[in-house]
Amino acid sequence: MGITQILFWILAITAIFSALMVVISKNPVYSVLWLIVTFFTISGHYILLNAQFLAVVNIIVYAGAIMVLFLFVIMLMNLNKETEPQKSKWLKLAGAVAGGCLLLVLVAGLRHTEKQMTEMVTGDIGLIQNLGKVLFKDYVVPFEISSILFLSAMVGAVVLGKKEPRIPVETEMRKVEETQQAINI
């Protein structure tokens, strides 16, 4: 067994274990932390496939930014073991079935990918130069469309996050007068 295979097995087992821990952990903060570990193992897989750019971007974007925001929310909402709502048995069963279905679909989808996998190991597809050329030559239009999608999402976030428009002074004054009259009566 070569060193690649050893690393692969270690990474794969850690990935599955930490992914399970995300689901099993009672405390949401621990769940998020296990999810971060999962991202690291996935990045490790990317490196094994010689896709260093993807590996680092995965860490920067997911582990470095998105998970921090998740942690933010969970920490500030003070979610912990005590406040975790108890779900009913049927809900748990439904979740297990849905998860099983997803697993089935994934396994079925990945069954015929052996050929591509061997290409990935020897190839340099994941290196940044090749990735850039592919993105900006072969897939320019989808790339730009997805960037427009991102832009619109950003604008939407800003619009949603904006404060409510101020109540005009006149309406406010009228309200004040109305209350005063109501008190006088």
Binding site: T4, Q52, V56, G64, A65, V68, V121, I128, Q129
Partner: protein
């Protein structure tokens, strides 16, 4: 699989290099604490530490010893594992950044070409970004695990500050990457040796990067996570003994690393100004001189960091966010656009 083929010569060479570089980073960080106290003292017409050893040079050892000897307190209501993990993460992420920095030119030892760089991966700069963005976790985990409201608030502040300033930092860096056309740290340095330092082409980019580096290191004027008048002591309030020491120490390592990164990206790395050191050949001492030059540049930056700390007062939190999102980010975008246009025009 190119990454993982083991060649024992390379293995030992890298092992020694890692040991030397990490030790250097630790020693520099240790003496940064001394330098900070001395500079603070001199800027305030005081003498600073001068009791432990000649000129107080043994002061960092005394401080370290004191921290080791102190009582270790883990709060009852904290989550113990995360409480210990926090400072560990802070320290590890601080040390990991040094892996891709070229500390000197490639030297020739008995026919072996030894690059003074632990790993010249083709995404060097992104690697640094990745590790820096992980630095948040040390703060966040420590702050949350302490089970203290002040710690939590400080941790949230620190994390949001670091995330906000990472954006402007990345954008200011993009302009540099456009100039160089490669993400490798070694080729960034080589490009500067050939074409002059990046700071000449990117003064605005450097300014933005520098301000963001201050914020990333939680240095004054952006030391809001440690704002003692509002948050008592910041995210490490519940920490004592060497765990506190690790947090403080990680900050100084971060400062050293960001000083080195700035000298590498904008000030030519190990390049000696006005001298063509490539003509000297491939001797071992050329690499050593390069290393010394890089350290000198880094030391100047560290001095600048400290000088700023003891001059400028702290920002308010809304001012900090305002500066990051409404000033630096658009400025960095404009800088990037101008650079792109100029490069496009010059290449036509």
């Amino acid at each position: 699989m190119y990454l993982l083929q083991i060649d024992w010569w390379i293995f030992f060479e890298k092992l020694i290099l890692v040991a030397v570089i990490v030790t250097t980073a630790l020693v520099v960080a240790m003496y940064s604490t001394y330098a900070e106290r001395k500079i603070a003292a001199f800027l305030q017409d005081r003498r600073g530490p001068n009791r432990a050893g000649p000129f107080g040079l043994l002061q960092p050892m005394a401080d370290g010893l004191k921290l080791f000897m102190k009582e270790e307190i883990i709060p009852m209501t904290s989550s113990k594992f995360l409480f210990v993990l926090g400072p560990m993460l802070a320290m590890i992420t601080a040390c990991m950044t040094s892996a891709v920095i070229p500390w000197g030119s490639t030297i020739d030892i008995k026919g072996h070409q030894v690059p003074l760089q632990i790993s010249d991966i083709n995404i060097g700069i992104l690697y640094i970004f990745g590790v820096v963005s992980l630095g948040v976790y040390g703060i966040m985990i420590g702050g949350w695990a302490s089970n203290n409201k002040f710690s939590l608030l400080a941790a949230v502040r620190g994390a949001s500050q670091m995330i906000s300033y990472e954006l402007a930092m990345g954008l200011s860096l993009l302009a540099v990457l456009m100039l160089v056309g490669d993400l490798r740290m070694s080729s960034i340095v080589n490009h500067q040796i050939a074409n002059g330092w990046n700071v000449l082409y990117q003064p605005l980019g450097f300014l933005i990067f520098f301000i963001c580096a201050l914020a990333e290191c939680n240095r004054t004027p952006f030391d809001l996570p440690e704002a003692e008048n509002e948050l008592n002591f910041g995210y490490h309030q519940e920490y004592s003994s060497m765990k506190l020491g690790f947090y403080l120490f990680a900050e100084y390592i971060n400062m050293f690393i960001s000083a080195v990164v700035m000298s590498t990206l904008f000030f030519g790395g190990y390049d000696i100004p006005f001298v063509n050191e490539a003509a000297w050949g491939n001797h071992w001492w050329v690499g050593l001189i390069g290393f010394v030059v890089l350290m000198t540049k880094a030391a100047l930056f560290i001095f600048l960091f400290m000088w700023i700390r003891w001059t400028i007062p702290r920002f308010r939190y809304d001012q900090l966010m305002n500066l990051g999102w409404k000033k630096l980010l658009p400025l960095a975008l404009v800088n990037m656009l101008i650079t792109a246009v100029v490069i496009l025009l010059l290449h036509k």
